[in-house]
Every structure is written in structure tokens, then in C-alpha cells.
Homo-oligomer: 231 residues x 2
DNA sequence: CGTAGTCTTGAGTATCCTCAACGAGGGTGG
DNA sequence: CCACCCTCGTTGAGGATACTCAAGACTACG
């Protein structure tokens, strides 16, 4: 259940990390990284466990989430290649992180060694700051999405967000990779409402489905500003 | 309208910064800080302006917010004494920050100088990391609050959040300092709904009002687990 | 080919938003 | 000192939206 494929990295660059295209690689920091591979649903770091590592997604998708008292799950961050997580002032993780896609690969930086490295190498410290800034940007974006009043707007801005994050080149092609349930828990909606919003957007000509989780954006203006419907 | 009371800080500690009780002071960094004072509603840093400074709230309250195309405002962070803001990878601020309370005081760190200081002094780098970690923690908390399905739960968890943030000692006394409109824009609700939720919580015996914006928590269990109402 | 997980669609109910009116304070100026 | 105005806060009524419960279709995989 919990067998993780741990592979320590040589000081020389590892091709797994070098293979990450869109992410700005944390070059110096990678000398202390270990790469691990997870299968779908596997826990990468558990809630309430000690903060001993910082992480960076190399491939696949992961979700940072928590389960409320009423059994509802809230996803607090959707982690794509290049995204870092595991930062906290507290001694224990406030959230669990789980692999969403099968074969999700994560670089794992021992916190103490990373901090020490940052103390001696200013470049590392800057790299770490950049990583955290990005995490803030993602969270702020999520707050904006959650702040949308209607389900249609939430789903629409989520799609635009995913489009912006997926590939810089073909920005209109989205490979969601996550289930409707995950989207629902990210957007704080029920999965039925997510499904309805997506079919609604399809009939409005905003999106076109290649498969259940792959779609193309046809008309961005519909996704962008749902308030125009009132006009 | 825009006259800011700028006061450069001497290398020796400034009493304004030393006076901050609950915040862990960024000691070394304060040597390059300037303290500014703002009145209610005044803009501390504008949206789309270049990122030239990092900031820390010394006294008062500020809100980080944006205005959507439809005219709605979304508050992305509520900044209390000790909170830092202004971090971004982008060159321009994605959000505006405005003073909520009159006389809100902010320490202002020139970004370039702060970065340079961080490069030469590892303690500064750590201080900065801590500041950003705290910002992440606040944002994650906000996502959790926004993820609550009902208005009653959102307002309830918001009150608990504010209680936890206000004073470590008397955790049951809350001085909101912000208007119902601000709460509404923070929680992505209408101000009417916020008002209704508060009176509802009052009649349920969860809170008691000393004045419009000052209240005491009487029964925490009502605030944190609204799902019990179903039982 | 069956099974489990995922996705969609439907019907009814609860919740929230909008529009509206009114009350309460806090300034300001006469 | 009082009247006035303005912002803020509360409460009500009606309509729109999302949730819950439910059932059925599709997909992947053993």
C-alpha cells in the first residue's frame, strides 16, 4: 500500500528532473533531491505528519486536500508539473497530498538540508522563494475562482485556469486528468453541478469534448465573463 | 487624497515596529524599512503597479482585493498586524491593497534591497520565507472557509478564524474592525446574507454582540460544525 | 462479460441573491 | 445644540440557483 519507489539523485543532473519542460527547474536544490513515483490515489504526504520535506511535482498530477468533519473533501491546491508543496511554518502538515494520476513523480527535498543549502547559497534561497511565490499565486487564483457566485462561472474560470496552466503553446486544448469529483471538491460544488455546468458550456458553444476529460476551448468569452448572460 | 506619511527608519530599532506585540518582528529586515500610515480606504499599493516593495502590517487592518468585470469585489486576504504582503513572481501586483482601519501602519521594504540583504544574510532569507509561509497559511485557510457550502458555515468558520487571529489570550473576544461589506466580499456572499447569518448565530446562542463589530463567542461548537444541525 | 467506478440527467427542496425599505450612528454645518 | 446627510446594518419578499436523492449510461479493467 505504501511502498514508494525511492531513488536518490546523484549530484550530477538526473534526467527525470531535466525532462521537466515547462517548469523552471530548481537546479541547485536538485542535488539534494530524491525522486519518488506514486500510483493513483497514493498518499504522498499525510495530514498531521511532521514537515520533513519540501516537494516538487515532476510529472503527473497531485491534489492537496483535507476532509472535513462532515465527510466532505476540500481540495486546496491542484499540483501540476513544476508545482511545489509542503511549505509550512507549523511542524506538521495541515493537509494531505495524494497522487491523482498514475505514475505521478515527485522530487523530494529534505527540509533541513534544503534550508542549510539555502543559508549557504543565495541562489537556492531565491529558488525557494520563487517556488513559494508560485504557490501563493495558485492559491490566490483559487480564491478568485471560489469567489465566483455561480457554478457556471466557477467551472468556466477553472477551465481557463487549467488551460493557462497546461501548455503554453496550445492554450485551447485542455487535458483535465482529474475526475468530476476532484473538480467538484476543488470548486466546492457537487459533482452533479460540475457535470451540468460542463454540458451547459458545451451547448453554449464554449467548449467541445474530445473525450470525457479532454476538451477544447472554442469561445473563451463565454468562459471568461458569465455576467454577459444577463445582458 | 494620496498623501502618505512616509517616515524612513533609522538603523536602530523604531518603536513603531517594536510596539507590535503578536507579530514576530523581521528584525534584520527592518533596517531597510520605511513606515507609512494610511487612513481608511486609502490605497497602499495599486493593482497593476510594479512590484517594488514588500510590506508588513504593523497596526490596523488592510484588505487585498480585486474588482471583477461585473463590478463585484473579491477580498483575497485580510491583513492584520504582523501579516506581510506584496510577494509575487510577476512584475506587477495582481491585487490592490487598501487600508481598512484609519491609521493603518505599514512597514515598507524596498524589494531590491530586501533581496540583496537576503542574499548576504541567511537570517533575512529565513525571515522572508517565514513571512511567505504565513501568507500561504492564510490563503489556505481562506480556501477552506470559501469551501464551506452554506453561508452559516462560512460566517461561523470566519469568526473562528478571526478569533484565532485576534488575540492569543482572550480567544473568545473578537473585534471585527471590518464592515459587513468587507466580510461579504471576503466570504463571497452578499452583505445581507452575512447579516442574516450573524443574527442567526446570535439567536442560536453561538455569539453575543457587544457592539456591531465587537462580539464574544459563547458556543464554539455551533460555529465550527454546522453540520450538526442536521442531526 | 461482469463489475466497479465514473459520468450524466431528472425531480424536488433548501439556500442564497436581488430588490426594497427602514433603522442606527457619526459627522458636518447651520 | 440640533437638523441633516451619509454610510452602515438589519429585515422582508420573491425568484434564481445549487444541493440532495435517485436512476440510468458509459468506461475501464479484471
Amino acid at each position: 500500500m505504501n511502498q514508494k519507489t525511492a531513488a536518490p539523485i546523484m549530484p550530477s543532473r538526473d534526467q527525470a528532473i531535466g525532462a521537466v519542460g515547462r517548469a523552471q527547474p530548481a537546479k541547485v536544490l536538485d542535488t539534494v533531491a530524491a525522486v519518488r513515483r506514486y500510483h493513483r490515489g497514493q498518499e504522498i504526504c499525510g495530514q498531521q505528519t511532521p514537515v520533513e520535506h519540501w516537494y516538487r511535482v515532476l510529472a503527473g498530477v497531485a491534489r492537496k486536500c483535507t476532509v472535513r468533519a462532515d465527510g466532505r473533501r476540500q481540495i486546496v491546491d491542484l499540483l501540476l508539473p513544476g508545482d511545489c508543496f509542503g511549505f509550512a511554518t507549523q511542524s506538521r502538515h495541515a493537509f494531505a497530498v495524494e497522487a491523482v494520476a498514475d505514475g505521478t513523480t515527485v522530487a523530494c527535498y529534505p527540509r533541513q538540508r534544503a534550508e542549510n543549502l539555502a543559508d549557504t547559497d543565495a541562489r537556492v534561497a531565491r529558488e525557494i522563494r520563487e517556488m513559494i511565490f508560485d504557490a501563493i499565486t495558485r492559491l490566490q487564483r483559487q480564491v478568485l475562482i471560489l469567489g465566483r457566485p455561480t457554478a457556471l462561472e466557477r467551472v468556466g474560470s477553472f477551465l481557463l485556469y487549467m488551460a493557462a496552466r497546461s501548455a503554453p503553446a496550445s492554450v485551447d486544448r485542455i487535458d483535465l486528468q482529474v475526475s468530476r469529483y476532484d473538480i467538484a471538491d476543488y470548486l466546492a460544488l457537487s459533482s452533479e453541478t460540475v457535470s451540468r455546468a460542463l454540458t451547459d458550456l458545451k451547448f453554449r458553444g464554449a467548449i467541445r469534448f474530445a473525450s470525457t476529460r479532454q476538451l477544447n476551448i472554442v469561445d473563451r468569452s463565454v468562459l471568461d465573463d458569465e455576467d454577459e448572460t444577463a445582458a
